[in-house]
């Protein structure tokens, strides 16, 4: 390793590399010590829902069907108290060109890269987003580089990521596969510096605005099918983009009373950067290893300001277990004839449990599916889990231990959506915000307004919490 390419040397150039690779001057939007003008950052891109839809229509993205899951709804009612069991609808995002809603996120980024004359696009992602960027880049005639965290120190590839490698290469992309570690970002910076490509980050305004069409579509489709707005939309939650973009789309479509419920797979106890733990998780996204840190501090990403800010939009946040998601994935295939997921079915597992709490006339929309295939399947994930000594059994899913035991329910009534305390997350967010405040800097009045918006609370709430933390403003 030459000194010029060391971890420290490249990370020291981070700000400049990121600025050049996105072409957005985030500093313009600062309004306080922490505060920035979030809405103006998004609005200045020039993409409203109709503009985004026009871009997406040209590449076949969006306009996916909304399907009522009659049989899964009937099953929920069969195991609910009389009169309970909401109607469950599913937005079949697997029908997008590369097989997931991530095409919506990739579309505006690739469109911007071409419009602004970048020689190519690059993204650091091990998931569906890589295939989406590669697919959109192929359509736009731009070269593409995807950097993945793909295998452990024994050379064992996560099967779902191996499938993404194949998909990206099928679309003609260069794929840089890395072993486990947080230096994915360091390698990505080297790639951006070397190539001069556009950074199709998951966290730019483009990536979030591209999802607003999903929220807008599902509102219109629910209205067309039922004459009403959805009562709740359940969103698989990882980095926060899916929650943020969908919620914004819902609001713009007028569904201001629709609850936004985030759902993540509980991977408590597994370290996301651990070589040992890497293949002991059967989900590579949609899990608490991403959703908890990103909800409580969004600005931990490859851009200066994350456009995904889930705490602004969440009404409720629940977790489900790996075994429950595998269970509902099997039911989706066998009762509804839809082989999808598994990771994208996290929100469906939660929706099944939530439906049992709600009256029969309530409407629950699960807002995504993803394509399934080799490696990207419960069979492939459970095979690897067993090989690594993870116990796979049936029973009460509460008996699970991530990385040690996967428990597949024996009965649909065992599915549960376990609430995450949003107030605890808000406090955690405020602690992280204070920690990010440069030494010697004081919070301004604009910061108090911003923190209230960020936590979806009031300035009084923020002030009280700050007082508790011993912080004067």
């Amino acid at each position: 390793m030459t000194a010029a390419l060391s971890y420290q040397a490249i990370m020291a150039q981070r700000a400049g590399i990121v600025r050049d690779s996105i072409g957005l001057d985030y500093a313009r939007y600062a309004t306080g010590a922490l505060a920035f003008d979030y809405e103006r950052l998004l609005a200045d891109t020039g993409y409203d829902i109709e503009t985004a839809r026009a871009v997406q229509t040209r590449t076949g993205v969006g306009a996916t069907p909304l399907i009522e899951l009659h049989n899964i709804t009937a099953l929920a009612r069969a195991v609910s108290r009389p009169g309970k069991g909401a109607r469950i609808f599913l937005k079949d995002e697997a029908k997008n060109p590369s097989g997931s809603f991530k095409d919506r996120r990739a579309s505006l980024s690739v469109h911007e890269a071409r419009r602004r004359g970048y020689p190519g696009v690059a993204a650091a992602t091990s998931g569906n987003y890589g295939a989406a960027v590669a697919s959109q880049a192929a359509k736009a005639g731009l070269p593409c580089i995807i950097v993945q965290e793909a295998f452990d120190s024994r050379g064992v590839a996560q099967p779902e990521i191996a499938e993404k490698t194949r998909a990206c290469e099928a679309y003609g992309a260069e794929v840089i596969r890395l072993s486990v570690g947080p230096e994915l970002f360091y390698v990505f910076l080297r790639v951006l510096k070397d190539s001069g490509y556009f950074n199709a980050s998951l966290y730019t305004p483009y990536s979030i605005l591209g999802i607003e069409t999903l929220g807008d579509e599902l509102v219109r489709q629910t209205q067309a099918l039922t004459g009403r707005f959805p009562d709740a939309v359940v969103v698989t939650h990882a980095g926060g983009g899916n929650v943020t973009g969908t919620a914004r789309g819902l609001r713009q479509a007028g569904a201001s009373g629709t609850a936004i419920i985030a759902a993540s797979v509980d991977l408590t106890g597994l370290h996301m950067a651990s070589d040992r733990d890497f293949n002991r998780k059967s989900f590579t996204t949609g899990h608490t290893g991403f959703s908890l840190p990103f909800t409580t501090w969004p600005d931990r990403v490859d851009v200066p300001r994350n456009a995904a800010r889930p705490l602004r939009y969440l009404d409720r946040f629940v977790t489900v277990t790996q075994g429950e998601v595998f269970y509902i994935t099997q039911l989706l295939a066998e009762l509804e004839g839809l082989e999808r997921g598994p990771a994208g079915n996290t929100s469906l597992a939660a929706a099944f449990a939530l439906a049992r709490e709600l009256d029969e006339d309530r409407l629950l929309v699960v807002q995504e599916t993803e394509y399934t295939g080799a490696g990207k399947h419960p069979i492939a994930q459970l095979k690897l889990a067993k090989q690594l000594g993870v116990e796979v059994t049936r029973g009460d899913p509460r008996r699970q231990r991530p990385g040690e035991r996967i428990v597949i329910p024996e009965h649909p009534a065992q599915l549960a959506a376990v609430d995450v305390d949003l107030d605890r997350l808000r406090r955690s967010y405020l602690r992280n915000a204070l920690a990010a405040l440069p030494a010697g800097t004081e919070l301004t009045a604009a910061d108090l307004v911003f923190l209230a918006e960020e936590t979806r609370t009031s300035q009084a709430y923020v002030q009280e919490r700050l007082d508790e933390m011993g912080r004067k403003t």
């Binding site: 390698v187 490696g375 095979k383």
Partner: protein
């Protein structure tokens, strides 16, 4: 340098392997088990010069970049798959259909 073992022609689709960061140079926030192993990279492209397995080679990637590394595999396959059906998943559909039928009988 030409040797007798060079039998992989230029232009062959290959995979290279490289150590990006050795154990002592990894990011400080990396957990202990990951600190003990190197950060490795694998990438595919077309071989620039004829070579043998394990040679230090250069490839042209699909984006047109040149990358260097140890020649690790020739035309590597996509061998991820499914595996045998999982006994813990097999009964789920049958059980659910029985519950749906039972619900009809209760009414």
């Amino acid at each position: 340098m030409a040797t007798a073992t060079e039998h992989i022609p230029a232009g062959t689709w290959v995979e290279i392997h490289a150590i990006v960061l050795p154990p002592g140079e990894r990011a400080p926030q990396t957990p202990p088990d990951t600190q003990q192993v190197p950060l490795e990279m694998r990438a595919k492209g077309l071989l620039i010069e004829p070579a043998a397995l394990d040679d230090d080679v250069e490839i042209a990637t699909p984006s047109g970049r040149r990358l260097r590394g140890r020649l690790a595999a020739v035309n590597p396959g996509y061998d991820h798959g499914f595996g045998p059906p999982v006994p813990e998943l097999l009964p789920i559909g049958r059980e659910a259909r029985a519950l749906l039928r039972g619900r009809g009988q209760r009414r």
